[in-house]
């Protein structure tokens, strides 16, 4: 097995007012390629901080973050942005679609950073919208879609540039049970059929059951690590 993500003695602290708050206390972690990791833990345990570090949205106070053989903890802001565009697909709790754009235009946004032609971009967008089952809603704006549909558009946006890693921050946190199940089935299918590596932060034990590995964080340290047999 190849580790696609490696965290080595990662510490992260924030300055809140005059006080320094240490969120992660020297975490070591390896995530294998094609793994579906469910990251759980109470509020303030450092789940989102760890996700942000893996996704290159933030940088550790100390330690190493290696993703796909690249040490990203030393990259500049510009280089990190470029790296994210090529390697990371994001799925947020509140979808974070651009409200003024249609579903297809939202999905196209990450492709604007590539060298693909307009026709190629359109073709890819149609393909992923079909994959998430929303080809018929391509021209709809986010406010014309249900929460579940918006999250599907967000998933399409996350996978359209074929990233190395999908990171999901509470992807079902804003959805009803049925929509949540649909979204989790979709993520699981992406993991199983397309081999996408997924790191998902969740509070929901039902969502975590879809993951092939469950990791618990508590007070900035790994507390429990369990692999599930498919």
């Amino acid at each position: 097995m190849t580790a696609i993500v490696s965290l080595r003695n990662v510490k992260k602290s924030y300055l809140r007012g005059k006080q320094t708050v240490e969120v992660l206390h020297g975490v070591d972690l390896e995530i294998q390629a094609s793994e579906f990791l469910g990251l759980m833990g109470p509020s303030g345990s450092g789940k989102t901080t760890m996700l942000n570090l893996i996704a290159g949205l933030d940088q550790p106070t100390s330690g190493e973050v290696v993703v796909s053989d690249k040490r990203i903890d030393k990259l500049s802001r510009g280089a990190l942005a470029d790296w994210r565009a090529r390697h990371i697909g994001f799925i947020f709790q509140f979808y974070n679609l651009l409200p003024v754009l249609t579903a297809e235009a939202n999905v196209e946004v990450p492709l604007l950073l590539t060298n693909l032609s307009r026709a190629q971009r359109r073709e890819r967008v149609q393909t992923v919208l079909q994959l998430v089952g929303l080809a018929d809603r391509a021209k709809h704006k986010p406010n014309e879609l249900s929460g579940g549909q918006q999250q599907r558009v967000a998933i399409a946006r996350a996978i359209v540039a074929d990233p190395t890693l999908l990171v999901c921050d509470e992807p079902t946190g804003d959805l009803d049970r049925q929509s949540a199940e649909e979204i989790m089935n979709l993520l699981q299918a992406l993991n199983r059929t397309q081999g996408k590596t997924i790191v998902m932060v969740t509070h929901d034990p039902r969502a975590a059951e879809y993951a092939s590995r469950e990791l618990h964080l508590d007070k900035g340290q790994l507390a429990h690590d369990a692999r599930r047999v498919a």
Partner: protein
């Protein structure tokens, strides 16, 4: 170009606000175009006036007049090519509220001094032969619906005739094309000799001598010589070039340049705050969206450019619409009458306007664009 849809969509995020901001910019640049255009218009009109013509009037005040006896003495100054004269008649047609820009003159000499006025020789000859003849500008004739051969009664509140009547009967004997000089140029001429003989008083009064000179470089010397001829006499003169006189007359209306620039400056200054506020508000509302763009891989510089391009698009588009509208206003008969048929919105005003719009966009767009550039993804996504 591939980011255009993103910029365009961002611009129309709050449709009503964008429309109102655009309207403000359109109106401001309409005003800018009009005022600067009028400024340029006056400059064009005065620059069309030549320095090879001098105007001689009474030193005390133009309305005091000079004696006709000055004519020959002015003619005798070396370098003087021709001398004509104007005496203000100030008539009206049918009612006092309908004035006519009428002057008594020596037409033969006048058209020799003003070489650029186009007139058929037969009209000049008819004017010479007809004591009650008048020559009109084509524009005035068209405006009034008058034609050669028409007989028109013209009233005056100044010059009563010897028979006690204040209505003068004239015969239109010709028209002339004065478009080069714009609408400010007198457009109605009667024979000075007839006026002088028929008037009950003020015989021999001349308000302006118009002096054509051979060499414009000699204007200063000739002016001084003319004024020296009449120095310390009862009728001292003041001689100046035509353009200097025009500028002086325009200044009597106020310093148009200053007024125009002050208004435009105030408007653009206010607009700057309005646009900057709109852009800042727009960026503040989109903090999370901009953070998402950065999350997806848009670099800081690219986000800065996206926001700045929005400001550019808003200001340049609305600014150009405003300038285009002001250009259309210059095509209207009202302004053509003032500045002449050839006058249209000067290119320099369009270029200045585009420059101002660009500056406005940069100054109002840079602070929010910089704010967007500096946005920290983690804080922005967490709503901090």
């Amino acid at each position: 170009m591939k980011y255009f849809s993103l910029v365009w969509a961002g611009l129309w995020r709050k449709r009503t606000r964008t429309v109102f901001t655009m309207l403000s910019i359109v109106v401001a640049f309409l005003l800018f175009g009009l005022l600067q255009g009028i400024n340029q218009g006056f400059n064009t009109v005065t620059s069309n006036l030549d320095v090879d013509r001098l105007y001689v009037s009474a030193k005390t005040n133009m309305t005091d007049g000079l004696p006709i006896a000055h004519l020959n003495r002015i003619k005798s100054v070396p370098g003087v090519r021709a001398v004509s004269l104007w005496t203000y008649f100030g008539g009206f047609y049918q009612k006092a509220q309908d004035p006519l820009p009428a002057f008594a003159t020596d037409a033969q000499q006048l058209f020799s001094v003003y070489k650029d006025i186009k007139i058929k020789p037969e009209y000049l000859e008819a004017m010479r032969k007809t004591r009650t003849g008048v020559l009109l500008s084509e524009q005035l004739a068209k405006q009034r619906g008058w034609k050669v051969g028409d007989h028109i009664p013209v009233g005056t509140s100044i010059w009563t005739k010897k028979d006690g009547s204040s209505t003068w009967d004239f015969d239109i004997v010709g028209t002339f094309d004065v478009s080069k000089y714009g609408a400010g140029f007198p457009a109605f001429y009667l024979n000075y000799d007839y006026f002088n003989e028929a008037s009950a008083f003020g015989q021999g009064v001349v308000h302006y001598y118009i002096v054509g000179i051979d060499d414009p470089h000699q204007a200063m010397r000739i002016s001084q010589q003319i004024d020296a001829l009449f120095a310390n006499s009862t009728y001292e003169t003041q001689t100046q070039t035509e353009s200097a006189l025009a500028v002086m007359q325009l200044k009597q209306l106020g310093d148009i340049n200053f007024i125009a620039n002050a208004i435009v400056g105030a408007v653009l200054f206010t607009l700057l705050f309005l646009t900057a506020n709109t852009m800042m508000q727009s960026v503040r509302e989109r903090t999370a969206e901009l953070a998402v763009l950065k999350t997806l891989g848009f670099a800081d510089g690219k986000v800065l450019l996206l926001v700045l391009t929005e400001a550019l698009l808003l200001c340049l588009f609305a600014g150009m619409v405003g300038l285009a509208l002001s250009s259309l206003v210059f095509e209207t008969p009202a302004l053509r009458q003032i500045f002449g048929d050839d006058f249209s919105m000067p290119l320099v005003v369009i270029v200045m306007g585009a420059g101002m719009a660009l500056l406005l966009a940069l100054v109002s767009g840079l602070p929010p664009a910089w704010r967007a550039r500096q946005l920290n993804i983690v804080d922005a996504l967490a709503g901090r």
